[in-house]
């Protein structure tokens, strides 16, 4: 059992494959040439991982037949990242239900047929929470989703928990804060602006900010998000207890993000933001909690982010320049 499957692996979180290769999983290239990390996605990866142990397969993780072919008996673990994101799931209810609910269920059912229950890491989201909210969300706060995406993720959480209780999988759910600064391009997430109002201006391009400067967000950096997924993968089941794990994050207002942008990119960068309030985006984003006490994550050994958004921008620029030099090499 050595194969690890990452659904939605073409996105930036698919880069956790690099982390898996670095970690002590002792993945060796099979003598028959079979790869041990399989990225699955409906589109090609933004960034190829050039390693013989990593294999990309194009296909729909919500397609039962396809996913059964991917999950061979030697599958040791799954990261289930594939999802129709918040804005898209709100616009197309049926698509969200098919991918986020049916897809998660089909994947769990396929896992159930494996000879050994695989570790199943499911990425849920802060979007499972909505009003009425306490000032600080804790591990005891009841999720009350106010979006299709949040509802579907919460149902996914319950499916993972139930199939874990039945020992069909060895599951674990982490709830991600909004990830910023995501590399790559804008997407249909309601929170897409939380990356694009920084990424695009730093890159000399315009970006639209659909919310007020006073809007607060609960953020995690891509690097920490990947570290948390790797940490989750290796957590022993008996330490876990029940319920989803709210991952650590930092609370940042859009105003603070823009101030950090100015420090890193100057006044010109800030001028590249067009302020165009979008009621549909606001209706989703403003139901999300902005402050958490993530005591359980801390007790399970999850790392924390930099407290300063300046450092997150600096990390982003550093990684981009490294990738840039690789791209040009």
């Amino acid at each position: 059992m050595r194969k690890i499957v990452i659904t939605g692996g073409a996105g930036f979180l698919g880069q956790l494959a690099r982390g898996l290769l670095r970690s002590n999983l002792n993945l060796k290239v099979d003598e028959f040439g079979e790869r041990q990390i399989v990225l699955v996605d409906v589109m090609r990866p933004q960034m190829e991982i050039d390693d013989p142990r990593v294999h990309f397969v194009m296909g729909d993780a919500a397609d039962q037949q396809f996913i059964r072919e991917i999950l061979s008996d030697d599958t040791q673990g799954i990261f289930h990242l594939a999802a129709v994101v918040s804005g898209a799931a709100e616009k197309d209810f049926d698509l969200g239900m098919r991918v986020n609910l049916d897809g998660t269920r089909a994947l769990l059912e396929a896992c159930r047929r494996l000879p050994q229950a695989p570790r199943f890491v499911f990425t849920s989201s802060l979007a499972v929470f909505g009003p009425p909210l306490p000032e600080v969300v804790t591990d005891a706060t009841t999720p009350v989703p106010q979006s299709s995406y949040g509802s579907q993720k919460l149902i996914g959480e319950l499916l993972v928990a139930e199939l874990t209780r039945k020992r069909f999988v060895d599951g674990l759910v982490v709830r991600l804060p909004t990830v910023s600064i995501r590399p790559g391009r804008p997407n249909a997430a309601a929170s897409s602006f939380a990356s694009s109002i920084l990424r695009e201006p730093l890159n000399g391009q315009e970006a639209v900010c659909p919310v007020e400067p006073s809007t607060a967000l609960w953020l995690i950096s891509p690097r920490l998000a990947i570290d948390c997924l790797l940490h989750a993968f290796n957590l022993p089941s008996q330490k876990l207890g029940s319920g989803a794990i709210n991952l650590p994050g930092i609370t940042v207002t859009v105003r603070e993000m823009v101030a950090a942008l100015e420090k890193a990119g100057g006044r010109d960068a800030v001028k590249r933001i067009r302020w165009e309030p979008d009621p549909e985006v606001r209706a989703i984003v403003e139901t999300w909690p902005t402050r958490f006490d993530t005591a359980r994550a801390a007790s399970l050994g999850f790392s924390r982010d930099h407290e300063s958004f300046d450092r997150i921008i600096a990390d982003y620029l550093h990684e981009e320049s490294e990738l840039g030099s690789k791209r040009h090499a």
Copy 2:
């Protein structure tokens, strides 16, 4: 729009049809002979309701094609009571998923196709709760199901909430305590004993008690359960707020139930209970909460039960004797 559909209507809660007839819904016999209350179930009702406005249709509420035929455009409301009960859902995971999850979803999807969003009353259960539990469950307690039935009911709750948010239905979820004393026969619910250790001995028959005398239960009488369903049906949407409603109940230990049985049926009745602890039943029942603070239900005007189990037995005997005299008439 005058048709009301009751899934699982052959069970004792289907008797709420009588309550609907009595209430001020002004149901008239259609001149073309169409009935206005439709009971749907996979088995025939335990007790027929002899009224031209009540119609029974045998069929599987989880069958998409069948349910679309039942839900004509004049459907005003649905009581969705049909379910694979706790013990059966635990034994047969796939059956529980098909009926409790897929069935609820198919019914909601069928409602979505109606010209007007119907009132959709969904009966969830205290089984959505499990350890770790506070001493008293409140409206703020996060459900953590520890059974397939509880998981499936909680997912059903989320589906009803989400389709209500999208205005596809006008939904409302009530969480029932264990109903006792249920008329009729034992069923595959893990809590079936909570009725049978009273009903069978009072009727001169043996019954098995699979739990310890010290086991506490959160109970509701059949009469109050039906009253609560009728009250829920008529609650204005704007008063509701979000989230499932924990219905009122009383906390009774098995020992107290047996003491009440002795008062009503004498020592001989008590001797008809065989004490045979069943680990499978205990594993489900003992994860359920036994004390609630049902403030929200009270604020929404739901009635409370008798505080004394003696009164619940007396009501049961009274209703049985009334039915008995009708049966013999």
